[in-house]
């Protein structure tokens, strides 16, 4: 399972974090990243409007706004987790993997809540500059690639 990129978009559409997850990930410049972040944010919202099926209140089962959850393309697969607070965690990976990308995204959300939200030096909605978060994400990706699944049980 080869992961490509991880990016996190805040609730106003600004990109707060982007990171290549393996050596195979294509190099994307910072400006490109900012453009991708805002484009995805807008598409996510438009997709909910354009969808023939409207969920009650516009919110899905977990209370977050409805929008793009999965994009399957020839060369990559993209998953997005939108949280109740409006933050989008997006991960891309090469297709054909056996790992459940949704659980990886949920684990990354847990790491965000632990390392970023509890950090007194982090301002909400600002770019994430936490070393602890990047190390933890790297460790998680390593573990998932080795074991083939996330070993964390839902113990919280």
């Amino acid at each position: 399972m080869v992961f490509l990129h991880l990016f996190i978009v805040n609730k106003s559409g600004g990109l707060i974090h982007h990171r290549p997850l393996s050596a195979r990930a294509p190099k994307i410049s910072t400006n490109e990243w900012l453009r991708i972040g805002s484009t995805f944010h807008s598409l996510h919202a438009i997709a909910a409007e354009a969808s023939p099926l409207r969920l009650p209140n516009g919110k899905n089962a977990s209370g977050a706004d409805d929008g793009i959850e999965r994009i399957v393309a020839g060369g990559m697969e993209l998953r997005c987790l939108q949280t109740v607070t409006g933050i989008k965690f997006v991960i891309t990976a090469e297709p054909g993997g056996t790992v459940d990308l949704d659980s990886v995204l949920r684990e990354i959300y847990v790491l965000y809540a632990e390392c970023v939200c509890k950090d007194p030096f982090y301002e909400l909605e600002m770019p994430i500059r936490s070393e602890l978060f990047t190390q933890a994400v790297d460790a998680l990706i390593d573990r998932v690639e080795r074991l083939g699944h996330t070993s964390m049980s839902k113990h919280r």
Binding site: E107, V110, E114, C115, D119, P120, S130, L132, F133, A136
Partner: protein, 213 residues
């Protein structure tokens, strides 16, 4: 509310309890997350009111100092020791075992004496809870958010009659030094640094201790 008149409020356990709350076990546990959020807010509160990094450390230490004075009274009372500590090594042992166990659930990882200076001692903790979730930005220099804990230690020592200056330093782990306990938070990677609390006693303390023989 069920209140037994024999149990005073200092002995009552924290946390949820019903009518069958046990009074023999003081099993008080507070969620690590709520402590982390509260501590993060406290650091931000002080950060908004200072102009420099050292001022922030001093404020955190001052906050911890008042906690330390009270912790000393509480733990000395709970230990039912009616003779106060007068020897240096004993008070340090008290801090690194009894105080640590009561505050963090485990004894400090080691207590060392400095080779170069006779008045310096070091208490080492591999994973202090105040800095478990914190990443200090690089432009903050050597700030250690564990200054709060060094304030607690300083409060305890001064309250016990051993005035000392305590500072917290992050030191990278040496080769072969692995924390015996697994990381307290399972999802986080193991820490690469330990925190050393450097305790420097006032000269009067040393002369008094030496005179006692």
């Amino acid at each position: 509310m069920n209140r037994s008149p024999l149990v005073n409020i200092l002995d009552r356990p924290l946390g949820k309890g019903g009518a069958t709350r046990s009074t023999t076990t003081t099993d008080q546990s507070v969620s690590l997350s709520s402590f982390a959020y509260l501590y993060s807010e406290m650091v931000q509160y002080h950060q908004n009111r200072v102009d420099s990094i050292s001022e922030l450390e001093r404020r955190l230490e001052a906050t911890g100092y008042s906690v330390g004075l009270r912790v000393l009274e509480l733990l000395a009372y709970r230990a039912r020791e009616y003779k106060r500590e007068t020897r240096l090594m004993n008070i340090l042992q008290f801090v690194s075992t009894t105080v640590w166990k009561s505050l963090f659930g485990k004894a400090a990882d080691s207590l060392e004496r400095s080779i170069d200076h006779a008045d310096e001692f070091m208490i080492v903790d591999y994973a202090p809870i105040t800095s478990t979730f914190v990443s200090v930005p690089s432009d903050f220099g050597g700030l250690s958010v564990d200054a709060y804990l060094s304030g607690i230690i300083a409060g305890i020592l001064e309250g016990a009659g051993f005035p000392a200056r305590v500072t917290a330093h992050s030191v990278s782990l040496e080769e072969g030094e692995t924390p015996s306990s697994i990381s307290s938070v399972v999802v986080l990677p193991p820490r690469k640094e330990k925190t050393v609390f450097l305790v420097k006693f006032a000269p009067t303390v040393l002369t008094r201790d030496n005179a006692m023989g």
